[in-house]
């Protein structure tokens, strides 16, 4: 009995601290994005709240929490209320599965990759339901676009991850990281460069980020599926988007960049290499956003079905053949 309580307390502390760390990352990701894009666009970015604008995310949060929560006339209320939380929960749960260090993973289940993929498919429900429940045609169009996009890009993403699974011989994320030690530079990036490429593109599409931000295309659909949302519910959609970014980047680090394993050990900071790799991937997200225009709906589908999925299948086939030979 005492053991169980000890275990529960330990788990609670671990989960709580992980959640706080993840939330901090998400909050400061928005700040980093605004700062970096500002630099790329020859402007300053946030610099008013706190030193160098460092308190900006907190100020935003306070502002959004204190705003009036408007519910438009004619919405499907229960669905309208619950949709943002579906997005957030599905996007956020993935954090628990990422092995940050060899001795730190909250939930070391043996089908980790499958679970993350399932969660990211489910998070599309939040988008679709909010688009449907909002009683707005713009939101409906955004929701439709999102559902089509997520379905098509998930296939490419799963196929890219499947070749990694094939190489590592396990669905467990911990084992995948450990299996990478034998590869050149202790990462799967070089043997699986095609899969990495496909995965990054699909992950950007999965998170509805530029250049695949069609569901929320600001200049076409105003804001897409969350056009009718306000205050905290609106913020929760944003939180879900950035949580999704963090989880997808962490997955890329785990599956392709060797997780916590680095060229040499850093004493006292076991997460060092994991975080550095995570920040590099997140920077790519932001960099792409500042550079590229947006695809059109049919072009996006074309890219997914005609380019990414065939490439991923060929890569999977090659991996299988090479695995058989060696």
């Amino acid at each position: 009995m005492g053991d169980l309580i000890d275990k529960l307390i330990f788990l609670g502390i671990a989960a709580g601290s992980l959640l706080v760390i993840a939330l901090l990352h998400v909050a400061y990701l928005t700040y980093a994005e605004r700062k970096i894009i500002g630099r790329m666009q020859q402007r300053l970015g946030p610099n008013r709240v706190g030193p160098r604008g460092l308190l900006q995310p907190i100020a935003d949060m306070v502002k959004l929490l204190t705003k009036e929560d408007l519910v438009p006339y004619g919405v499907d209320k229960p669905v309208f209320y619950i949709a943002p939380f579906i997005s957030l929960v599905c996007a956020g749960t993935g954090v628990a599965l990422i092995p940050i260090w060899k001795k730190f993973v909250l939930s070391n289940i043996n089908v980790g990759i499958l679970f993350i993929l399932a969660l990211s498919s489910l998070s599309a429900y939040g988008v679709i339901l909010s688009g449907w429940a909002s009683n707005s045609r713009y939101a409906l169009l955004g929701g439709l676009r999102a559902s089509a996009q997520v379905i098509s890009y998930e296939i490419a993403m799963s196929l890219a991850l499947l070749s990694v699974v094939l190489m590592a011989g396990s669905l467990n994320l911990m084992d995948i990281v450990k299996a990478q030690i034998n590869s050149p530079y202790k990462i799967y990036l070089i043997p699986q460069i095609i899969a990495f490429y496909v995965f990054i593109i699909s992950a950007i599409a999965e998170c509805n980020r530029v250049p695949f931000d069609l569901p929320e295309a600001e200049t076409e659909l105003v804001a897409g599926y969350f056009v009718e949302y306000s205050a905290m519910r609106f913020a929760i959609f944003y939180l879900a988007e950035y949580f999704g970014m963090v989880v997808m980047s962490a997955l890329a680090v785990t599956c392709f960049l060797g997780g916590w394993i680095g060229p040499f050990e850093i004493p006292y900071i076991p997460f060092f290499w994991f975080l550095i790799k995570l920040y590099i991937i997140l920077f790519i997200y932001i960099w792409v956003r500042a550079t590229l225009p947006r695809y059109r709906y049919d072009q996006l589908m074309g890219l997914g079905w005609k380019v990414l999925i065939p490439v991923a299948i060929i890569n999977l086939f090659l991996t299988a053949v090479l695995k058989l030979i060696f």
Binding site: E220, L292, R294
Partner: protein, 409 residues
């Protein structure tokens, strides 16, 4: 085009349950460039029908012009196409000068040409910024604004205002350039061409940009003429019509420039035409600046130009508290405008801008009619948007380069 009545009828007809999807875009929408309202009939995301509804920015400029005297009407022209106000000023001034038979000094002509081409650069930069932003490339937006800011600062040095400056006036311009402005403009013309190159490498080699613009909203030459397109939209279809070449006004007769044209008449060609025009405008400014020393010391306003004068007896507060704020017109005492009519058209950055004015001999126009390019271009949207997707519609609005102040007047 479906009217509301027809739509209601369709909805009542229950047998046909496969209805198109109607969506109302605007008048408050981030990418309709103002208060344009579009009523769309969609099938999936494909546009079957599109009805532009305008008039949300109607201020009655034409009627208002009939109640103001000639120099005051120039101020109204700023508010038409507020992005390139120098071009509007010039169109008004040319028509009024024709009516009054004024001869503009050469230096004033050169200065007008310079500010007009500056306006063209401003306009095209803003167009590029918003067009790229609509398609999703947000970085170009701020780069363009940086350079536009430079030009607006020069405008501020020239006449004190940045956007609606009324620098051009009947019979010439407001005041001469100082040496500082000329130096600044020389500096600008030298540094600007590399920056055009910067924009081009930002978006011209971008595959997504090419996919979004090539083959979108193709207008064949015959259709472009029939739709009444002018300016870069017409030249994008391959017709080298430019008022600056065909009926040179101001100093355009004495400068060398090329009229760039496209081939396919799609969004990409219109983009290329405008980018080339940026270079040409830059060279025109340069040539005019080189010619300025020849006319050093000349007046910048015609001798017999109608003048804006302050009241002569400001110091005496007595007779009656008549609210004579601002200015009076010399022509009130002595009409200088003959009875008659005049027409002038110029190549504004957006297309051909024409002004027709009828005078009854008083100091106010009896009738003022303005032909604005945006109004005509909006009428081309249904033709161009047909069978395109919603995302293309945004590109089409961008490529037509419309300003609603210009269209609604």
């Amino acid at each position: 085009m479906a009217t509301y009545l027809e739509i209601n009828k369709k909805q009542v007809n229950e047998e046909k349950w496969e209805e198109p999807f109607y969506i109302n875009m605007g008048p408050q929408h981030p990418s309709t460039h103002g208060v344009l309202r579009l009523f769309l009939e969609l099938e999936g995301e494909t546009i079957i029908n599109c009805t532009p509804i305008i008039g949300y920015l109607h201020r009655g400029v034409e009627k208002l012009g009939e109640t103001l005297n000639y120099n005051q009407a120039i101020v109204l022209s700023d508010r038409l196409d507020y992005i390139a106000s120098a071009a509007n000023n010039t169109a008004f001034a040319l028509a009024f000068e024709k009516l009054m038979g004024l001869e503009v000094p050469r230096r004033a002509k050169l200065l007008r040409t310079i500010v007009c081409e500056m306006a063209r650069i401003c306009n095209h930069l803003l167009w590029l910024a918003t067009h790229a932003l609509d398609i999703g490339a947000m970085t170009v937006f701020l780069y363009c604004f940086r350079d536009r800011e430079w030009l607006l600062n020069i405008y501020e040095k020239i006449c004190g205002a940045r956007l609606t400056h009324s620098y051009v006036r009947v019979g010439g311009v407001r005041q001469d350039f100082t040496q500082e402005i000329i130096d600044e403009l020389y500096k600008f013309t030298e540094e600007f061409p590399p920056r055009i190159y910067d924009y081009e490498i930002l978006i011209d080699v971008n595959r997504i940009w090419l996919k979004r613009t090539k083959g979108i909203a193709v207008v064949p030459p015959e259709d472009a003429i029939n739709l009444g397109l002018t300016g870069p939209c017409l030249r994008g279809s391959g017709i080298a019509y430019d008022v600056r070449k065909f009926r040179p006004y101001d100093a355009y007769g004495e400068v060398d420039f090329v009229v760039p044209t496209g081939k396919n008449g799609d969004t990409y060609d219109r983009y290329r035409v405008r980018m080339e025009e940026l270079r040409q405008s830059n060279s025109i400014i340069r040539q005019c600046l080189d010619k300025l020393p020849e006319t050093q010391g000349e007046p910048v306003l015609a001798e017999n130009a109608p003048d804006l004068l302050m009241p002569e007896k400001v110091k005496e507060p007595k007779p009656q508290p008549v609210p004579k704020k601002g200015v009076i017109f010399r022509g009130v005492e002595k009409p200088i405008v003959p009875v008659g009519e005049a027409f002038a058209s110029i190549e504004s950055p957006k297309g051909e801008l024409a002004v027709y004015v009828v005078s009854d001999g008083s100091n106010k126009p009896w009738r003022l009619r303005i032909r604005t390019p945006s109004f005509v271009h909006i009428s081309a949207i249904p033709y161009m948007a047909k069978n395109h997707m919603v995302a293309d519609l945004i590109a089409i609005i961008g490529t037509l380069d419309i300003v609603l102040g210009d269209s609604d007047r």
